[in-house]
Amino acid sequence: MALDRWIALVLLGICLIYGYTAWFTMDDALAPFMRRNPIWPSTFPKVLSVLAIIASLVILLGIEKGEQKIGDIDYRRLGDYKIGQALMLLGLMVAYALLLRPAGFLFSTVGFLVGGSFILGERRWIMMFLVSGLATGIVWYLVQVVLGIFLRPLPGFLVGG
């Protein structure tokens, strides 16, 4: 089975769960006076779930025939591409998300930018730190000082909170 039909299968599952919630469990919590309304919080989701189930079945059963196209990247030969780098960058993004608050904006961002360049094969350390440090400083200044959106610059223990 081709990837697009596998995806349709997964989406069908999601839509079935969504539809089950909308049709059978959601309305239990509805206040009695709301039941007299012509529209319930579940009305629109009910319509959507039915339409989405039909659409995913059309793809899954192959009713609409389209020509098989291979896009920019052929997923059957993922090993030929730099999949390791991509996965490491995704890991780095997750680490950034988790460290942004505890480590503060300046440290985590410099770390992210240097780490990203390193994963991609850059080895000129001075250049890397220079560019990342400068960019981090400018962005922090713009966001915090000019726009007035709070970004904690340093780890909590250094600024007492």
Binding site: P41, F44, L48, S49, A52, G71, A97, L100
Partner: protein, 503 residues
């Protein structure tokens, strides 16, 4: 009117106000380029500055300049990085980004600048002529028609995904609509489908989803297949557009200025719907050969949404200035600023404070001109973004997507959602699922449901569909749009097999 024009010109051409326009356009362009900061947030940030000036005309002129600048800046990041920071410029990335990848970034930015200028200027002309009359037309549209109009928009988008792809595009649109129902709806004071997670209470963030659908997969593709990055070597070839190209986009600009303006007048529609609808319409009426170019770097496909979104921005001022009803989030913020400055927009604005009304219109002309004059010479420098080395460019794109998602919500969970959706979107792209419909469905989902619910409540059921002829007509068009591509494909197939089909 002539007297009004002269008053407006006099006000807008004072040194202070000219500086306001120029400053506003510059600030708007530069902040608008950062993904994640749309016109709404930029204007919100500028309000304290505007109010502290005390002069309503100057304040409104500054904010209008920021608005235009932000829309243009948003197009820049759509075209160069495929990272649309504003819903209204998503459609610009469909053809703008492929152009940039083919090394025509300069040309794409030039077309964007010219199309924006034309859309904004023609829009301002129409605003001058039609403002009073149009406000009464907009009042004829009820929630039932808005609902139907959005259904037409969504079907048009699914339909233009191409043959063999309609079901996929439909599924993606529906998935977007489903995602929009997560969280607390406006009409029901009850969280839905949050799975008990507090972070989902307010639903998914638009910016997070936009970054995850466009910027993140794009960056990952650049990592996976490095030689593609080389195509954008930053060399700015053919900045100028040829005479033939100008000739081919001129009718598009003309049509979309008018269409975009009128869509912008409808409260709630605005630049986003105008740009998508403009793209869909131009694709459908283009000759067969040019239709295949759409999505691969067609200049018409770039000019259409760029013109339409600027014209719609101008159009959205009509209900604000003539009725005092803001048609979009951005104009709602402007309304707040005006009230703080002791100006009440409404039918009496033109009579009581003509200098404010006309100065705004004149500043639109000046603002558009300033944007064109400022941006055309800057284009080679802006496009230099692409010549940054891949080892540095990719971490920076990823960083800006993360920042965009973070600034909007100030919530680190949003970043994890971004990565999760980004991976999901990349897999969808592997299997050739179109991602734009998902995002469009998500953007329109809230409005669609609100209008649907309101009509259901007014008519005590679904009878509004057949009791309002305009609604019925629009819905019939929507159904035809969805069925037509498969019908055409089937007929073409039958014909190819030599089966006569009667005509």
């Amino acid at each position: 009117m002539l007297e009004g024009l002269l008053i407006g010109l006099q006000t807008a051409l004072s040194l202070q106000n000219l500086l306001m326009v120029i400053g506003g356009c510059l600030i708007g362009t530069f902040i608008g380029m950062l993904p994640g900061l749309g016109p709404m947030s930029i204007i919100a940030i500028m309000i304290p500055v505007a109010i502290s000036m005390g002069d309503p005309s100057a304040a409104l002129i500054l904010l209008a300049g920021v608005y235009y600048g932000a829309i243009f800046g948003g197009s820049t990041s759509s075209i160069l990085l495929n990272a649309p920071g504003v819903a209204g410029t998503v459609a610009s990335s469909f053809d703008g980004y492929p152009m940039a990848r083919q090394g025509k970034a300069g040309k794409a930015l030039t077309i964007a600048a010219i199309a924006s200028f034309a859309g904004g200027t023609i829009g301002a002309l129409l605003l001058m002529v039609f403002a009073p009359a149009l406000s009464s037309v907009a009042l004829l549209f009820h929630s039932a028609e808005y609902f139907a109009l959005m259904v037409v928009g969504l079907s048009a988008i699914a339909a233009f995904a191409g043959t063999g792809q309609v079901a996929k595009a439909m599924l993606m649109t529906l998935l977007g609509l489903i995602m929009a129902t997560v969280g607390e709806g406006a009409l029901f004071n009850q969280p839905r489908f949050t799975m008990g997670l507090m972070d989902l209470q307010s639903g998914f963030g638009f910016i997070t989803l936009a970054m995850a659908m466009f910027a993140l997969p794009e960056a990952l593709f650049l990592v996976l297949k490095p030689k593609d990055a080389g195509s954008a070597d930053g060399e700015i070839k053919d900045l100028r557009i040829s005479r033939a190209e100008a000739k081919s986009i001129a009718p598009v600009i003309g049509r979309q200025s008018i269409q975009g303006f009128f869509i912008g007048v409808l409260p709630g529609a605005g630049a986003t719907i105008a740009s998508f609808l403009g793209y869909a319409v131009e694709r459908n009426i283009a000759p067969k050969k040019e239709q295949e170019e759409f999505g691969k770097g067609s200049i018409k496909g770039l000019a259409a949404p760029e013109t339409a979104n600027n014209a719609a921005c101008t159009g959205s001022f009509v209900p604000l200035l003539t009725l005092g009803i803001p048609g979009s989030g951005t104009t709602a913020i402007l309304l707040g600023a005006l009230i703080a400055l002791n100006v009440t927009p409404g039918p009496r604005l033109m009579l009581d404070e003509p200098q404010v009304f006309w100065a705004v219109i004149m500043s639109m002309f000046i603002g558009n001109l300033v944007l064109l004059v400022l941006n055309l010479p800057l284009i080679p420098y802006i496009a230099k973004v692409l010549s940054v080395q891949r080892n540095y460019l990719i971490p920076f794109i990823l960083f800006f997507t993360l920042m965009g998602a973070y600034i909007g919500q100030n919530n680190a969970t949003e970043l994890l959602l971004l990565v999760g959706f980004g991976i999901f979107a990349t897999i969808l792209r592997f299997a050739d699922y179109p991602l734009a419909p998902l995002l469009i469905g998500f953007i329109l989902g809230g409005m669609l449901e609100d209008n649907f619910s309101r009509s259901m409540q007014l008519y005590d059921g679904v009878s509004f569909i057949w009791e309002r002829p305009m609604t019925l007509g629009l819905l019939v068009i929507a159904v035809i749009l969805v069925i037509l591509p498969s019908y055409r494909a089937r007929r073409a197939k039958l014909r190819a097999q030599g089966v006569a089909d009667g005509d």
